[in-house]
């Protein structure tokens, strides 16, 4: 749905985006993560036809963003990271204006506006002036605007910034719902908890370069073939550590009170072997837990050291 190849953008002599390439399949939620100043917004503005790339191509649904911006604009719903609202306009007027701006049929504009207000919980605020809305409410209003023409692709630049925890959870649910409706979602963030769990794929960008791209699992596998386990023992944690360190597949082991943390090399099958080994040594194992890779640890691993 989105195809980016060798995208470059330089501001004067400064290269904000260098050779960025990725693909987003139809119907997936793609998380675009990176620290501040990584080039997320720059990439997104190029995808949304607002910024001309210095080099490279970007296609949305097969349409080139540089050569056919007007076609791309009808396909995407774009939500910028920073945006203003008009003074003196009420919420429903605002949404009807954008319904007209997307050239929806006259008779249906009202109904569609009601629908998206329902979807984004804006119905109670319908008659409020948009300039009097709080930041989170504006955020929801902008999301409502983004949905108004039922776009195939949503491009959201830090959409959850400024939302309270409850709204954040609701927002995630909304994203899942939209993705189930078959929309492709491209969402940028530096808040990882916001993305973990809803993104099928992620791209990690730092200093204008893509460091990793793909599903969370595949990135994890590529990154570290090792796995971390937590073994809870009833007693003798220190001895267990000593014994563990003698095994070749154990890279690292440390005791933490009653818990032993170990990093194991190899596939899933090493875990039962270790259990058997410890049991044979009479270590009373109360429980074992494999640590799952989450986005946060991945992110920290990938971007470690690269920060300027």
């Amino acid at each position: 749905m989105i195809e980016v190849k060798g995208l470059h953008k330089s501001y004067g002599g400064f290269e904000a985006v260098k050779d960025v390439s990725f693909q987003v399949a139809p119907g997936t939620v793609f998380g675009f993560i990176g620290p501040n100043g990584a080039g997320k917004t720059t990439t997104i503005r190029m995808l949304s036809t607002l910024l001309e790339p210095t080099a490279g191509t970007a296609l949305v649904d097969g349409h080139c963003v540089v050569n056919y911006p007007e076609r791309v604009r009808q396909i995407i719903g774009y939500m910028p990271d920073r945006f203003g609202v008009y003074e003196g306009i009420q919420v429903w007027e605002y949404l009807e204006f954008f319904a007209a701006a997307y050239k929806l049929p006259r008779g249906r504009r009202r109904a569609i506006a009601e629908e998206v207000m329902e979807l984004t919980d804006l119905t109670p605020l319908k008659e409020k002036l948009v300039s009097e809305l709080s930041k989170g409410m504006r955020q929801r209003l902008c999301l409502a605007k983004t949905l108004i023409h039922d776009p195939k692709v949503l491009i959201l630049d830090e959409p959850a910034a400024g939302l309270d925890p409850r709204a954040r959870i609701e927002f995630r649910a909304l994203l899942v719902e939209l993705s189930r409706m078959g929309k492709t979602v491209f969402i940028s963030s530096h808040i990882l908890t916001e993305l973990s769990g809803i993104c099928q794929e992620v791209g990690i960008i730092e200093q204008g370069q893509i460091l990793a791209c793909g599903s969370v699992e595949s990135i994890a596998r590529a990154l570290s073939p090792s796995r971390r386990v937590r073994i809870r023992v009833l007693r003798g944690a220190a001895e267990a550590v000593e014994w563990l360190k003698k095994r070749p597949e154990v890279l690292e082991a440390a005791a933490d009170g009653e818990t032993v943390r170990a990093t194991l090399q190899g596939g899933e099958e090493v875990v039962p072997e270790i259990v058997k080994y410890l049991a044979g040594l009479d270590v009373p194992i109360a429980g074992l837990e494999q640590e799952h890779h989450n986005l946060e640890t991945l992110f920290m691993q990938i971007t470690k050291g690269a920060v300027a």
Binding site: T57, L59, P80, R82, F83, G84, G88
Partner: protein
Amino acid sequence: MARTDPFAHLNPILLKDVRAAFRTRRFAFTFMTYLSVLGAVIFIMLFVQLGSSKNVVPSDVGRDIFLTFILGLGVVTWFLVPAFACAALTGEREGETFDLLITTSFRPWDIVWGKLLASFAYVFVFYAGSLPLVCLSFLFGGVSPGQIGCCYLALTLAALFVISLSLMFSAVYTSSKRAVSSTYAILVFSGFPLLGMIIGLFEDRGSLRRVLAGVPLPVFFLTAVLYLSAIVLCLLCATNALKSPTENRSTNTRLFLCAFTALVTALGLWTAWEEMPAGKDLGWLLGIWLGVLGGILLLFPLLFCAEPPQRSRRLQFELGQHRPVLRPLMRLLYPGALSGFAFSLIWCTGLMALTAAALWILIHQKRADLPLFSETSTVGTAQALLVLPLALVFLLFFASLCLLMSYADFRTKNIRTVMLFLIVLSNVLPGVILVSAERRRADGQAGFNLYGLSPSFAEMSILMPPSTVFKDGSVKPLPILRGDVDFRGTWGCLYVKLDSPFDPRGVMMPQWVVAMAVYLSLSLVMLVLCAYLARRRRPPTPPEVAPATSET
């Protein structure tokens, strides 16, 4: 829930802007201030007039009230309108709403049109709001419906002009401040004709009305055409500025300017045809017309030669879609600096040649002299027509300069700004220097001058020869500025002084010859440079176009 919006059929941008603007306190404040100031002025005037003089003519009072009203509206139109019309698009940029607006399905023209309507609605409120006050003038009489109609027409035209100019700068610049200052700068220079015409309608005691009465009909048409075209041109430029760089931002303007210059030429020739036998006042009219035409033709390099040299992939594709017969023509009309250069020169040369031929025939048919700038001097036909090739040389120069800058990868906006300054400066600055430096030169300090290098001065040097054969047979320098100075050096010649300021052995050469030589050689040098830059330029790697599906 099924309540329908009574305004749903209105233009959405108009609706949004009107709602937003009229609900603010600032608008109410501006409007009330305007009304109270206008009201106060009119009442004070009434008071003074009715109180002081012994024999007040009611119709005079009525006319004065109406004139005040019109002036009030004129001030609003000229000074208040740019203040908000310039914010139409830059305001959206500054308020960070522009990105949301531009990524909708609105095409650039939808946005410009909506903003034009919205700004006009704003002006209309001021016009309508002052109606109760103008009704006062009917109490006294003295104003005819025709005059009111004319005033309203002129005001509407002026408002449209101001709004379109503001919209153009609002679309081109990103900050309101720059848009407003540019608009005011242009309005200051272009406002006088319109203001003059409005006042002229009423000034029956003075001479303006008599002068206007002597002006032939086509000149009024010409003025109207100029203003209307300025409106269309500004709107076209605003629309093109909102398009993405890969879109066709040039063909519409090129076609429009062709039609427009053809019309201006036709009107000029019509004037010449109508007025030729009358002889006397034709000279200055023809001079002004040639000046206007020359000024308009300078728009061609400014607009088209400054475009980026390369066409986008999209444009190349669209060009290929035209029928093979039309393709050479379309190549000329499509964007691109080189095509702009060729287009400008071909069209301007053709137009000038036609004009020269038509004038030549006209003059010979009517056996008319061409009295220019002075009722007692005459200029030969051939000499007067020399203005045209000279204008072409200047055009070639400016076009080559634009082309060179474009090939040197200057930004289009920067090229246009530089060129605008250069054109204005080269035409105006010598006049300023001339007036301030003339005395010193007459004292024998300066040997020769370079005024001829200014386009306007070089052309004037043709129309105002260094010495003139008067009707009584005497030969004298033209008495144009102060009488004690020899103006040969200024107007007519490159004057190299030998011994004394008035030494007849001074080497003289007509300035236009020098100008032609200098500008032609400069143009040639620049064109050679362009060719070099074009060859050195690597073929660009434009962003690839999507596979065939996206092209259909």
